[in-house]
C-alpha cells in the first residue's frame, strides 16, 4: 500500500534515470521499499573495501563525495538525482571507493533485492546501466568521470595520484563522425550539423586518412574555391597528424600549438596505421582546464540558475585546493577566490532581480560584510549581508522595504543553495534590521558609535568591513562619510572598538602552550578563528578606521597600508600582514582537509612545523594587541 511519503519519493525519482523509464506502478512499489537516510557532513556512507550493502543510493538533497580512502582528492561529487554504489551490488564485489557526505545530505536507499528483478525485466533500465558503466560522460569539474562512479578501474589510480593537472590524461570524444573520400561536401556539412560536431574524419579501410573541420568548409568551400558538389578528398587536410590516445593535457596543448591545428586525431598506437579511437578538440581542452579562474568566471556569468552555480562552486573549491598545494601566494589566491565569490553573488542577485515581478522602486546597494567584505572568505562560510536603499518619503518607506526585503530573502535563499550557510545571528538582508534606507542606516551606525556597548561594538565590527558587491556605490560611500564624520566627533568610539579587539582570549598560555577549548562541542580543540584570526583582524580594523580609510577591507592590505602611513611601526605591521595571511592559509587548509569551516583545529593532528608556524604568529598578535592598548588608552577606560 502506498503512502504519502512513498508517493513523494516516487515523484522525485521519476525525474532521473533509470527511474524515469519505469512504469508508475513499479516505481510506486519500489518507493515503498526505500529507506530515507540523513547524513551529516563528513559522515561515511560506505568505505573502501567494505562489503556491499543491501541498498544502493540516490542523492535526494546535498552532495556525496567519492574518493580513494586516505586521499583528500575527490574523484567525483554526486549531486541531486545521481545514483551511486550500484555496480558493486550487481557485480558482487566490495566497494572500490569511499563515499562520504560532502555536505548535509538526504539519501534514498533502494534495496537491490527489489530493484534487480525490475532491471532485468525492463530493457531500458538495463541499457542505462550498461551505458553508465561503460561510457565516460565527462563532468568538467571532477577530475574523474561519472561513468566510473559505480566502482573503479585502474585508471582511477592514475587520476588520483596525479596531482598536477597539466600532466593528467585528457578526456576526448570517442563518438567519431566519419565519411569516405568520395562523400559529397554538402552531405558532409549536413552530417556535421546533424551531429553538432566541428570536424569529421575521412576514413579509408577503417583507417584515418584525412580530416575536415569547420574551418575547411569556411575557407575552401564558402569562399568558392571548391564547389559544394565536390568530394571530401578535395578539401580534407591530409596526411593527418595522429597521436596516441594516452595524451596529457600539456602534450595536447603543445601538439595543437606546434602544428597550428585545432583538432587532434588519436589512434590506437599513435600512427596512421591503426584505427582512430577519438578526436580531441580545443573545446575538450577548455573543459579540462575548467579549474581555471577565467573559465570559471565565464561559467558563473553564464549560469542561469542557482543549481548551475552550485556546480561551478565545486570547481572553485578544486581550484583553491590546487593553489594551496602549489603554494601560490595567499594574497593572490584570496584575490582570485574573492573575485569569484563576488561574481557568484552578483550573478545570484541578477537572477533574483529577473525573478521579481517589478523593477526595484529606487536605487539600492548590496553589501557583503564580515569575511566576504574583507575579501578573506576562501571557504564557503556564513553569509553576512545587508541592503541600503535610497531614501523615500515616509509614507512609501515600508512598501519600499517590503520590496527589498523580499529581494533579500530570494537572494539569501539562493546563496544558501549554492553553498553559503545562513548567518546564525540572522545578519542578512532578509532581516528587517539589515534592510534599511540610507538615512536609517546613518541613524543606526551613529547610534552604535555614540552608545558603544559590547553588542554595538560587535555589530560595528561586522558591519564596518562592508564591501559593495552590487548596485549603487554612491549610497555606500555616503554612508562611509557619515560614519567617519560621527567617529571623528566621538573619538571615544575607537577606544571602545580597540577594547573590543582585546576582548578575545589569548591564543597561548603561560608556557607558550596552546589554549584549547574547555568544554562544549569543540572541547580540546584550538579555536583558530576566535583566538588567532579575530584579534589580528579586529586590530587592523580599529587602526585603519582611526586613520579614516574606508577603501581597504582586506586585513593584510590594511596592515600594508598602515606600514606605509606609520614608518616607525613598519616592521610590526608587516609582520601582522604576514601573520594574517599565514593564519588564513592555515584555516583554509584545515577547512579543505576536513570539509568544514576550518575554525577548530585538533592540535594532535598538526606536525611540529605547523605548530611552530602558528606559535610564531601568536607573538605578533601579542605585540599588536599591546600597541592598540597603549594607543587607544584602553586601560583607562577599563578602570
Amino acid at each position: 500500500m502506498k503512502n504519502t511519503i512513498s508517493e513523494r519519493i516516487a515523484d522525485f525519482l521519476k525525474n532521473y534515470p533509470p527511474f524515469n523509464t519505469m512504469e508508475a506502478k513499479q516505481l510506486e512499489q519500489l518507493s515503498l521499499e526505500v529507506v530515507i537516510i540523513h547524513k551529516e557532513t563528513n559522515t561515511i556512507v560506505f568505505s573502501q573495501n567494505e562489503n556491499p550493502h543491501e541498498h544502493f543510493y540516490v542523492v535526494n538533497k546535498g552532495a556525496i563525495a567519492l574518493s580513494k580512502e586516505g586521499s583528500s582528492q575527490i574523484l567525483d561529487i554526486c549531486d541531486e538525482g545521481d545514483v551511486f554504489g550500484l555496480r558493486p551490488l550487481l557485480a558482487h564485489e566490495n566497494y572500490k571507493l569511499e563515499a562520504k557526505a560532502y555536505e548535509e545530505t538526504i539519501l534514498y536507499a533502494i534495496p537491490i533485492k527489489e530493484f534487480k528483478p525490475l532491471a532485468l525485466e525492463n530493457k531500458r533500465i538495463g541499457n542505462f546501466l550498461i551505458e553508465s558503466f561503460a561510457s565516460n560522460t565527462g563532468n568538467p569539474y571532477s577530475i574523474k568521470h561519472r561513468g566510473k562512479l559505480y566502482g573503479s578501474n585502474q585508471e582511477v589510480d592514475q587520476y588520483s595520484t596525479n596531482k598536477i593537472l597539466d600532466l593528467q590524461p585528457i578526456k576526448y570524444s570517442t563518438d567519431l563522425i566519419t565519411c569516405k573520400k568520395g562523400t559529397k561536401i554538402k552531405t558532409i556539412a549536413n552530417k556535421m550539423t546533424q551531429h553538432n560536431v566541428s570536424c569529421i574524419l575521412v576514413e579509408k579501410d577503417n583507417l584515418p586518412v584525412g580530416i575536415i573541420t569547420d574551418k575547411d568548409l569556411r575557407k575552401k568551400v564558402a569562399t568558392g574555391l571548391f564547389p559544394i558538389s565536390g568530394a571530401a578528398k578535395t578539401i580534407m587536410s591530409s596526411p593527418i597528424i595522429t597521436y596516441p590516445k594516452e595524451l596529457t593535457l600539456a602534450q595536447s596543448q603543445m601538439a595543437m600549438m606546434k602544428s597550428n591545428i585545432s583538432h587532434l586525431v588519436l589512434t590506437e598506437d599513435g600512427t596512421t596505421d591503426t584505427r582512430a579511437v577519438g578526436i580531441l578538440s580545443k573545446h575538450d581542452i577548455m573543459v579540462a582546464v575548467g579549474n581555471n579562474p577565467a573559465v570559471l568566471l565565464r561559467a558563473i556569468k553564464r549560469a542561469a540558475d542557482a543549481k548551475r552555480l552550485r556546480g561551478i562552486r565545486h570547481g572553485i573549491m578544486n581550484l583553491l585546493q590546487g593553489y594551496l598545494d602549489q603554494n601560490i601566494p595567499l594574497g593572490l589566491v584570496s584575490k582570485i577566490i574573492s573575485e569569484l565569490n563576488d561574481a557568484s553573488t552578483k550573478q545570484v542577485i541578477e537572477i533574483a532581480l529577473t525573478k521579481m515581478e517589478e523593477e526595484p522602486p529606487v536605487k539600492f546597494t548590496w553589501l557583503s560584510m564580515g569575511s566576504q567584505g574583507r575579501g578573506e572568505q576562501l571557504l564557503n562560510t556564513d553569509q553576512d549581508n545587508a541592503i541600503i536603499f535610497e531614501d523615500v518619503p515616509d509614507e512609501k518607506l515600508e512598501e519600499t522595504r517590503g520590496y527589498f526585503k523580499k529581494l533579500g530573502e530570494r537572494i539569501s535563499k539562493m546563496l544558501n543553495t549554492i553553498g553559503f550557510e545562513y548567518c546564525p545571528a540572522d545578519m542578512m538582508a532578509s532581516n528587517r534590521s539589515w534592510c534599511q534606507s540610507l538615512s536609517e542606516w546613518k541613524k543606526v551606525t551613529s547610534h552604535w558609535i555614540h552608545n558603544p556597548g559590547p553588542e554595538e561594538i560587535l555589530l560595528s565590527s561586522i558591519f564596518f568591513d562592508y564591501n559593495v558587491v552590487y548596485g549603487e556605490k554612491a549610497l555606500a560611500d555616503e554612508l562611509s562619510h557619515s560614519i567617519f564624520d560621527q567617529a571623528n566627533h566621538y573619538p571615544q568610539f575607537f577606544t571602545h572598538l580597540a577594547s573590543g579587539a582585546l576582548q578575545n582570549p589569548s591564543p597561548s598560555g603561560f608556557f607558550r602552550d596552546f589554549l584549547v577549548e574547555q568544554d562544549g562541542e569543540h572541547k580540546d580543540f584550538f579555536d583558530l578563528k576566535l583566538r588567532a584570526l579575530m584579534p589580528i583582524i579586529d586590530a587592523a580594523r580599529v587602526l585603519i578606521l582611526s586613520n579614516s580609510i574606508k577603501s581597504i577591507n582586506n586585513t593584510a592590505e590594511r596592515y600594508e597600508k598602515l606600514a606605509e602611513l606609520e614608518p616607525n611601526n613598519k616592521e610590526l605591521y608587516l609582520a601582522c600582514s604576514y601573520a594574517s595571511k599565514a593564519l588564513l592559509k592555515f584555516r583554509t587548509r584545515q577547512g579543505l582537509l576536513h570539509n568544514d569551516s576550518g575554525r577548530y583545529i585538533a592540535l594532535d593532528k598538526l606536525n611540529k612545523e605547523e605548530k611552530i608556524k602558528l606559535k610564531r604568529t601568536f607573538k605578533t598578535i601579542k605585540e599588536i594587541q599591546s600597541l592598540i592598548e597603549v594607543r587607544f588608552q584602553v586601560k583607562n577606560m577599563l578602570r
Binding site: N3, T4, I5, S6, E7, R8, I9, D11, S31, L32, E33, V34, V35, I36, I37, H38, K39, E40, T41, K61, E104, I106, A109, K413, N416, T417, Y422, P424, A425, D426, M427, N431, R432, S433, W434, E455, E456, L459, E521
Partner: protein, 216 residues
C-alpha cells in the same frame, strides 16, 4: 490495600497494558540508538473538547534513517464535523480512504509509538488532541517523552538583543529555512515527514551528545 484504585486499573484494556509495559524499559542514552516517532495530526479545529482528529500520521527515525514502509497513517471516522477546516485538509467526512474508529486508531498508534520519544512541530497540540481522544475512550494520558521542533530550532539561533528575532516559527518557516519541499503540507504524514527532516537538520546543528541534552 487500595481496593478502589485496583479495581479502576483493571478496567483498562490489554492493549493499554502492553503499551505501559514498554515504559519499564529505559530509553537508550545515546541519541543514535533511540527511536524517535515523528508525528502530526490533522484535526477539525483547535478546540480540545469540540474538535476531533481526522488523521494521525507518524514515522520512525532510527539513527538518521526513515524506513518508508514502517510509517503510520490512519484516517478516523467522523461524527463531529467542522466545515471550515475540511477545506484546509481536503479530508471529507465520507472520505474514500479506509477509515477506522477513534478507538482502533488509538490502539494502533499506541502499538506503534511504544515508549519512544514523540517529536512534533508544536507537539503539545498533537499530544493534547490524542489525550483528549484517549480520555473520551476511558483511557489515561500518553506517557511518552516529547520534543518540540520549534523549541529545538530556536535553540540553534544566536541570542542577540539588537537583531530582532521572530517569536514564533511555523512548520512552513522551518521548511523554507531548510529548503524542504512543501508539497504535502496539510496531510498528516506529509507534515510529519517535513517535521522529521527539520528535526534531523536541527539536531545536526545542536550536536547533542546524549539523549538527555535534547530533553532538557
Amino acid at each position: 490495600m487500595w481496593p478502589f484504585s485496583k479495581k479502576k486499573q483493571l478496567e483498562l484494556p490489554d492493549f493499554w497494558w502492553d503499551y505501559e509495559e514498554h515504559f519499564k524499559e529505559k530509553l537508550p542514552e545515546n541519541i543514535h540508538e533511540n527511536t524517535f516517532v515523528v508525528l502530526d495530526t490533522e484535526t477539525t479545529g483547535f478546540s480540545m473538547t469540540k474538535d476531533r482528529m481526522l488523521c494521525i500520521g507518524a514515522l520512525k527515525l532510527v539513527d538518521n534513517n526513515i524506513v518508508v514502509k514502517d510509517s503510520f497513517e490512519v484516517y478516523i471516522k467522523q461524527e463531529h464535523y467542522n466545515r471550515d477546516s475540511a477545506e484546509i485538509h481536503g479530508i471529507l467526512k465520507k472520505s474514500k480512504k479506509d477509515s477506522l474508529t477513534e478507538l482502533d486508531a488509538l490502539k494502533l498508534f499506541l502499538k506503534y509509538a511504544k515508549n519512544h520519544i514523540l517529536v512534533g512541530h508544536h507537539v503539545i497540540f498533537d499530544i493534547n488532541m490524542i489525550n483528549a481522544a484517549l480520555k473520551r475512550n476511558g483511557l489515561p494520558k500518553l506517557k511518552n517523552k516529547t520534543l518540540d521542533t520549534e523549541t529545538l530550532y530556536i535553540r540553534t539561533l544566536l541570542i542577540s538583543t539588537v537583531v530582532q528575532r521572530k517569536e514564533r516559527y511555523t512548520l512552513d518557516d522551518l521548511a523554507k529555512k531548510f529548503s524542504i519541499s512543501r508539497k504535502d503540507r496539510h496531510t498528516a504524514l506529509g507534515d510529519a515527514f517535513i517535521t522529521a527532516i527539520a528535526f534531523l537538520r536541527t539536531i545536526e546543528k545542536l550536536k547533542p551528545q546524549k539523549i538527555k541534552d535534547l530533553l532538557r
